[in-house]
């Protein structure tokens, strides 16, 4: 019954060959770049996909970014010329860096695109020398959502803080919770301090929890007093876990119209701060993707995001769509990059930890 060593070696070689083949699927990057067709001068006005489009999500299935992709993808397929599916691939690792790098290095033929969080990827780009992508070189196709920051206080530990002025008075005594070092909940109080000059952000006391759930538990355990959360994500916990006292938006937010904005309370440079902290998710393509392809993708995406059924489905999934077309999204990403690349102190802090 026993097999010979020769047979054993044979099985092993077959296994190795199969695995090597798996690893080589898709060919090398150099090979990919050499196969770019057609050039912009010989391009048709519209691109018709001939095979499935891979939509890379650098985050886990079931996460906020993944769900937006899953909501929009079927409607996007509907408005894309041809009859090709959009297949979602979750490529995890390095807090989104691995997936974003995969999108950046993909063949720029329209068949690989992605959904990224530009602010997080900009911060990674500015603080981590190993990062091999450049957010500014990736054509932005549109954005399905934007999270608006809101200052949340803990009703169990600081019930007497009812507005921004109350908070400023005791700001250095309070404990600021974040959902992770370098996340928007951490960047927001830092940027507000540096840009407004109302307080010294270096004197704030931060505790970096793991994820929003960690922050909610910390509020319940009375370990933290303040959190720069997101209106869209935390309205469900309003009053019971969080008190909302200030919204980072130029005008009042429809989900909490009773909460004053940064502009209203007179925070210096409020609009600049608000734009830099607008946490959008953006569909992007690899650099050098021909314009006729990105135009087709962007226009069909825009139609999909404005489809009433898509908006309704998103609302039911508690992931409201606030569509931004390619032009608006690019403008916002560029502004964001400009603001953050000038924040030398924050960048240094994030680099050194």
């Amino acid at each position: 019954m026993s097999i010979t060593r020769r047979e054993f070696i044979k099985y092993s070689i077959i296994t190795s060959a199969a695995l090597f083949g798996l690893g080589c699927i898709g060919g090398s990057e150099k090979e990919k770049k050499e196969n770019i067709t057609p050039t912009p001068t010989e391009t048709p006005s519209e691109w018709i996909p001939e095979k499935e489009i891979q939509l890379i999500i650098p985050y886990k299935a079931g996460g906020g970014t993944d769900i937006y992709a899953r909501i929009v993808a079927p409607y996007w397929e509907k408005y894309l010329p041809g009859d090709q599916p959009i297949v979602i691939i979750n490529k995890l690792g390095g807090g989104g860096v691995v997936g974003t790098t995969a999108i950046y290095q993909a063949k720029p033929d329209g068949y690989t695109i992605g959904l990224i969080i530009p602010l997080a990827m900009i911060i990674n780009q500015l603080t981590k020398p190993e990062v091999q992508y450049d957010v500014l070189k990736m054509p932005v196709l549109g954005s399905p959502s934007a999270y608006t920051r809101v200052v949340c206080t803990n009703p169990k530990t600081v019930p007497d803080i009812e507005n921004w002025d109350d908070l400023l008075e005791r700001i250095y005594d309070l404990t600021f919770a974040t959902y992770g070092f370098g996340g928007t909940a951490h960047l927001a109080p830092l940027l507000t301090g540096y840009e407004s000059g109302l307080y010294d952000p270096r004197k704030l006391h931060f505790v970096h929890y793991s994820g929003t759930s960690g922050v909610i538990a910390a509020f319940e355990r009375k370990e933290a007093d303040v959190y720069f959360g997101a209106v869209e994500a935390h309205t469900a916990y309003r009053n019971e876990v969080f008190n909302f006292i200030l919204v980072f938006k130029n005008e009042r937010h429809e989900m909490c119209p009773d909460v004053p904005t940064t502009v209203e309370v007179g925070i210096p440079n409020a609009e600049k701060i608000n734009n830099a902290l607008t946490d959008i998710k953006a569909f992007v393509a690899p650099p050098e993707t021909p314009a006729f392809i990105t135009n087709t993708l962007a226009s069909s995406l825009n139609k999909a995001m404005n489809d009433p059924l898509c908006i309704k489905e998103a609302k039911e999934k508690k992931r409201p769509i606030t569509p931004r077309n390619a032009k608006e999204s690019v403008k916002l990403v560029n502004e964001m990059f400009k603001t953050w690349s000038k924040q030398d102190e924050i960048i240094e802090l994030l680099k050194t930890g």
């Binding site: 886990k60 091999q132 970096h208 319940e220 999934k317």
Partner: protein
């Protein structure tokens, strides 16, 4: 209200679609559990996107069926191949595999299955009875308590690990150093990544686990013998013996159940610690600890009871606070979001129907999967008599595919091979391979919660010594000194006898 939603869950399961989903989930869960490396987390993550657009109760029926059956599937691989099918089966290898080599694989599998089933079902009863208290239970454990618990787990490893003391110390420290690679858990800054983005996430558990156990075991088997079992497997009476093993050790069973449930209920400590702690208490409270590691059925009863109890315990922080108790629970929270349920402190209040569906499905999943395994164990046990040169290539191919599938990362396969070689060296120098894996799991937990506690306390170190922390410290001290006291007492008794 609770009884109403439970009856809705029952009626949903007893439809043709419900039964089909339940059986499909159990078969998939068992299969993925048996395949080394692919536990509930990977399986649910794979299935999750396909359920988009499903009725939420159908989706959670399927997830729970998978979740409830993978761990018992993993025990089969741990017993037959000395390779934990899931990270939660690490301790089962310690006595399960020696039993398999003695030709008692079917008995070992039956013991594991029956312990798992009873552990899961009793824990579920406790879970349902304590639903109103779940939130307060979860909130009792903050960063300092989790820090001490992680520290306790490290102490336990050193207390029960056999083999060369110096070698164990060196390997344990080496593994702790490895656990610090990757992004700093608090500041997110890269540490020891040497310019490789691959190392941003540190050494991934599954390649490390499969390399250390599966690959090294296959190297060892290929070099040593013709089959896993020394003698022909005895089939008759094995299921009965397995059940007897559990009933005979009912106090050990109950202690392990409590340990599993509590460890599972503590947010952030992870389930892998539970089975090892349960095993450790089995050794420490035994009158004849020298039989452990040589095929003692109590070494299976303890970790396997704790395993399913821990699975239920993990639901406590997940459903009461929205804090995932493990990687699997993090994926389950993703499933909540995907189906329009906001994870957080109000899941139970706002979605009692889903919670009831999870609990009811788990009752069926625990029972049916364990019964399947108990009866299939007799046939699966025959694997141990097959020529190893047939098994080795198959196991290696499955391991490599499993490793690659999880992240589509070819480098993970090389890491698996590397740890396979390190694992084999450890076997040769008589050092427990568990020491290479557990510190990689526990290290980041201890570090994260230590730094968190330091930043919360603002210099007031009494924060580290709350009532629960002091209790944990006392148990830790007792764990360290108990074997010495016991030995001294034994010596004294012997001298009296003389």
């Amino acid at each position: 209200m609770l009884f109403e939603v439970i009856s809705i869950a029952f009626s949903q399961i007893f439809t043709s679609l419900g039964m089909a989903l339940l059986l499909f989930g159990i078969v998939i869960g068992l299969t993925m559990g048996i395949i080394p490396g692919l536990g509930a987390m990977a399986t649910i993550a794979l299935i999750l996107p396909f359920t988009y657009g499903w009725e939420k109760l159908d989706a959670f029926l399927l997830f729970s069926a998978i979740f409830g059956s993978t761990t018992v599937g993993g025990s089969v691989t741990a017993i037959l191949l000395n390779t934990p099918g899931t990270p939660e089966n690490i301790a089962t290898t310690l006595d399960g595999y020696p039993m398999a080599r003695k030709g008692k694989a079917a008995e070992a599998i039956a013991t594991a299955a029956f312990s798992s089933m009873c552990g899961g079902l009793i824990s579920l009863a406790v879970f349902i009875a304590t639903i109103p208290l779940l939130r307060s239970i979860s909130l009792m454990f903050g960063p300092p308590e989790i820090f001490w618990l992680g520290f306790f787990a490290l102490v336990i490893i050193s207390a029960v690990t056999k083999g060369s003391f110096l070698g164990s110390l060196i390997i344990g420290c080496f593994a702790l150093i490895l656990s610090f690679h990757g992004l700093n858990p608090i500041t997110g800054t890269p540490r020891f990544v040497h310019g490789f983005i691959y190392l941003y996430d540190g050494f991934q558990l599954i390649p490390v686990l499969l390399g250390t156990f599966a690959v090294s075991e296959m190297i060892k088997l290929s070099l040593e013998r013709e089959s896993i079992a020394y003698e022909v497997v005895k089939v008759e009476g094995s299921i009965k013996k397995g059940i007897k093993n559990v009933l005979k050790n009912r106090y050990l069973f109950l202690r392990s159940l409590v340990i599993g449930y509590i460890i599972g209920a503590i947010p952030g400590i992870g389930g892998t610690v539970a089975n090892y702690l349960a095993y450790a208490q089995a050794v420490q409270t035994s009158k004849n600890p020298e039989t452990f590691g040589k095929g003692d059925p109590r070494g299976i009863v303890a970790p396997e009871t704790a395993n399913n109890a821990k699975d239920v315990g993990q639901l406590v922080p997940t459903l009461s606070l929205g804090i995932p108790g493990s990687g699997t629970m993090a994926v389950l929270l993703g499933a909540f979001i995907l189906h329009g349920i906001q994870p957080g402190p109000f899941i139970i209040r706002d979605n009692l129907d889903v919670v009831a569906m999870i609990a009811v499905t788990l009752v069926f999943a625990f029972s049916l999967s364990c019964l399947f395994v108990m009866f299939l164990g007799q046939y699966l046990a025959r694997l141990t008599t097959i020529d190893v040169y047939r098994i080795v290539p198959i196991v290696l191919v499955i391991c490599f595919i499993a490793v690659y599938y999880i992240r589509y990362e070819i480098l993970d396969i090389f890491v698996t091979l590397l740890f396979g070689m390190i694992g084999y060296i450890l076997v040769r120098i008589n050092v427990s391979r568990i020491l290479l894996v557990l510190p990689i799991i526990i290290g980041p937990i201890i570090e994260r919660n230590f730094i968190l506690s330091l930043s919360i306390c603002r210099g007031d170190y009494t924060y580290f010594f709350g009532p629960i922390s002091i209790f944990l410290i006392l148990i830790m001290v007792a764990t360290i000194i108990y074997p010495f006291i016991k030995r001294k007492y034994k010596l004294k008794k012997m001298s009296w006898g003389d």
